[in-house]
Symmetry: D2
Subunit: 359 residues, 4 copies
């Protein structure tokens, strides 16, 4: 197990989907940062189940309790611990899954690795683990607000299957994204995406898609070559999320079709600053932010749990079939939007503090 | 700077493209592992300049000297330090670049971050830094050979621009890949790719592409949730390489077009083992290897240095133009193949040792 | 802040003396280890206030709640989180101290470092923070019991001021140590020590002393040169405890009076094993355990809080006087005994797992 | 193996006493720091053999070569690698020792841990490993000079056996310490100590002693509770040195004889600063520097290699005898003085950078 992320602004998450609760300990947070508990809860509410008609109807309040590290709304410089109790547990719904490995879930690999596995739900592999990340990032967000105000981190659903949203990363706003329950930045496409998700859910099936994220007003100079390049840490952050299968920054895979002459970003002095007149680099060059918008995309596979009979095996190594039951997202992307933002925020905050150490 | 990679099998690389040399210190290597210096040199030769007519004609022997950690061909358990002297330095070729930021290079961002920059060549951002990684991975390879023989790590050029190779990850061999200088696994496509690279070079331009990699015979159980999932560490490893813009595992971005019913990998008992009958997961589920082939792809952008006049600015913040000079790869992919294998090998070795600690 | 200890078996503690509670997250614990919650509580009870007439009469139940990482009494391999609520808070008792720096406490230095400080009690610097360490070590103890049964870790009060206990580290038992409330291994000296502590407390004063600790049946080979030598990690562990001023192993400072001829430990084959016929090395040579008893001593200064008027300054930088109030230990050593054992157990467990990785 | 020290200013040492060489890689060094190679060599010369008549007469130039990280005398922010070739190797002198475990050396424990051992000399356990530490600290010293000028780190021989030097840590100077070859701060005692060392050497025996160290003008606020307290990291740094058996700070073990009333350091405003009127805390309170002089002591045992027949066993597990041969220090303390300063400087530099990250 390795449940620590970050070098200076470090978070340690804990908790299974069933059990006492989940949470996070944040270590390395600067002191005297105003932290609003409401803002933490607001972000948790953005990721929680039951928030709209296209996400799982599980009822979890996901109320954050802060045990330490804050005093009168200011950080003390000591570890900030946040817990969220598990409440809506229906172990019965998981009885069958306790002995049958759910296809494309982590059931078999957890058994293979640990020789033991949480008897119900996804245990540690559940998306419920991301609560700790989101809570920590809500604190990190307030650290950025104090140390480097103006940095914006915005994610949105870029595509659901082949349905592709037209979004301008330079101008899209959080209000636009939150204006529709699928959280795309292209309101014209929102209804189509929502209908797709509903149709696929009604068919007992599931879908995936791509989330795009922009970081605006990032100062130049963040990222620690050689191994902790900014895009490397972003890639790790995103691939550590459940259901992710790919990461690309700037021109990404499509950029491999271009020649260098087409791909290079020319430099120009603009308003007294070094700027690039195109941004195929995606805001990062040589592992270090260049002050342009940082733009990346994350691929999410279709939800593994589907209401369809599938071939599988038991933990006793016999062939069998399994049909999903319980309350699941037919598409995780709307709830993954705030989680992608959270991981990006954690990476940025850590790198901002790292740069202060040597800068 | 962060030049350390790995948690148990840890490497620390050092060195700029110009200066005394480059190298690596490996800490955490198990003792009593037979290490062939020839094998280290063999891997360095696979990545070195001047090896074929489609790579940079720079003449660097890249001869490895091992300063410590070995005795009579066996590891001592102490740090293994390997240095490679810099020899073919032509600082003159870089004079103009010392004051003009090369577009889509790391010149500007290094200045922005450190306020100082290696006066010639790419300094620390040079691909020459990867020598240390390749040397360390050649040692790691021999650790795997001792602790878990049979694990294979093979990479090949999957595409150059739109030229796509047909390769079966289950059966492709190292001999096939090494049989052509572009290092694709599809000999029928090799000549076309080589011609493309030559043509683009003769035009003073450059190209990128995709490298695919397979890990065969990986035992189930490797990977450390939540943050050090196997695919997360692979993604970080690959995005820490120069010129990379994307990473995907298994179905990757294309998998977002499928439904869950199409995407899930059914489990079946085959030859007494838990197997999946498809492999859209790419050999990793929940961040842990499942025993199937681990398959991933890495996007490399076109080489930034091109022999064409481009807009740029000086370090003194004036607009100017710059035309690349010197000896550069018009396509980095053939030399990047052993580097991708190296990073994958380092990730695997580290995770194998980590699993031993708790297993 | 740095609230993480250990490399493989890693603990993260959190919590201030006043606030919601304190606790610990354990990451890297091997799976399938039987863990008795009663044993955790038993160790917490050994360190808790109010347990005898010579410790602080504060009433804190210090009841452990385990939020994650266990299932049916077995570790899952996932993070084990343990919280203990704060209950007996009397902020009023600390009002004066909120503005006056308590001499030889951490009040001034926390202000100097963080620019903010827990308004009451010792905040993060309180000995209450050690609850997380003791709880984690109780889990570690059970890991040792499974992976390497027979390792014993025993600490006792070696001296209170000049009162020195005669204890044979080879034979002393936990029963003997627990048979007296001062927790010395020399029952003949116990009453004298107890009387000293009572007398000094009645005088509004405080005392310190030395705790000695033995690790028996430690396998040879633990410790990671060069920097994570076993004695180096033990030293760090002990000096990270509140009120400690010194650490010595084996012959320690007294060993500097001897010549090499007197000090060296001769090797002899005994019962087919390599043994030393003396043990001035204290069970560690070159940073690695040699299979002999590991013996070390830790100096604890007299408790800083005394019921006597002392010169000090205010946080507003004015000279003033302060007299301690509230309920404090006049001597921390009896309660520090299980804490010293806890830190030694954590160091051992981490090093045992580290050795498994490469061994 | 764990050859990394520090969190932000990180060093990685490598090399055995016999083999190609030893050295260090420094990662995390701030950029644009002027570094004098002469100052690095000066510190290496202070620790090198053959420098005076009371140290080992081995002839090793210990010339530092810097491979990377510097340009025109300024740090680049990239890893600084420094190597020192091994030259004066006489493997013949060690033949007997290759099969017989030297008492109180690391021969047996290295075999027990690694199952293999450097065939001659101390291998990795040799004091020669400290070259990398001293070279790195010479760089760190220059980082301090730039970022926080005025911090002084001075160590001296406090005692050789019972011969105790009278030294005032407030006023002792480097010139005084360097004025005598035993490097005590008490010139009146120097000759007596030198005579003792010569006499003991002529007798084929060895001695140990205590080194004291002061850090003057340390800013308040350094140290990272809970586990990376300043005294905890100093203790670990010192106990990671060969031949050390104890560490104490401020009042140390003697402080356990005092009562709280005698031991506490009263605060007073002096020249507008918060000061303590005594310094039994040794400049650190609650793990954080308080601006007073940091004073600590380190116990070094007598050199293990003596020219006397001693009982021991062979690596084949047979009883035998061994008499030391070769050229060894009869007392390591004069050469250990710059090494103690080096480790203290490394700890300080790392903590200064860590504080910048969050301060």
């Amino acid at each position: 197990m390795s449940s620590t992320f970050g070098q200076v602004f470090r978070i340690h998450t804990f908790g299974e989907s069933h059990g006492g609760g989940v949470g996070v300990v944040i270590d390395g947070c600067p002191p005297r940062v105003p932290v609003s508990v409401e803002q933490i809860q607001h972000e948790l509410d953005r990721r929680r189940p039951g928030q709209s008609e296209i996400v799982t109807p599980r009822k979890e309040a996901d109320a954050a309790e802060i045990l330490s590290g804050l005093q009168d709304g200011l950080t003390l410089g000591s570890p900030i611990s946040i817990i969220v109790r598990n409440t809506d547990q229906r172990p019965g719904a998981y009885e069958e899954m306790a002995v049958k490995y759910r296809p494309s879930h982590a059931d078999y690999t957890y058994d293979a690795k640990y020789g033991i596995r949480s008897a119900s739900g996804g245990g540690r592999a559940s998306a419920r683990e991301t609560i700790g990340r989101v809570a920590a990032a809500a604190v990190a967000r307030q650290v950025l607000d104090k140390l480097h105000p103006g940095i914006e981190v915005l994610a949105w659903v870029k595509s659901i299957q082949e349905l592709n949203a037209e979004v301008d990363p330079q101008t899209v706003t959080g209000e636009t994204i939150e204006s529709n329950i699928v959280r795309t930045g292209d309101p014209a496409m929102a209804e189509t995406m929502i209908e797709r998700i509903k149709a696929i859910r009604n068919d007992g099936n599931s879908v995936g898609g791509v989330i795009e994220c922009v970081i605006r007003n990032c100062p130049p100079g963040l990222g620690e070559p050689i191994f902790d390049k900014l895009e490397a840490d972003l890639a790790k952050a995103m691939l550590s999320l459940p259901a992710t299968k790919g990461f690309e920054i700037g021109s990404g895979f499509a950029g491999t079709l271009l020649t260098g002459r087409e791909h290079n970003d020319p430099f120009r002095m603009i308003d007294g600053r070094v700027r690039t007149t195109s941004n195929r680099s995606g805001g990062v060059q040589g592992g270090i932010s260049n002050g342009e918008n940082i733009i990346f995309r994350v691929a999410f596979k279709p939800t593994a749990t589907i209401m369809t009979e599938q071939d599988t095996v038991t933990s006793g190594h016999e062939n069998t079939e399994l049909k999903g039951r319980g309350r699941h997202d037919a598409c995780v992307l709307p709830r993954a939007v705030p989680i992608v933002e959270a991981m990006a925020t954690l990476v940025l905050t850590d790198h901002l503090l790292r740069q202060r150490a040597i800068g």
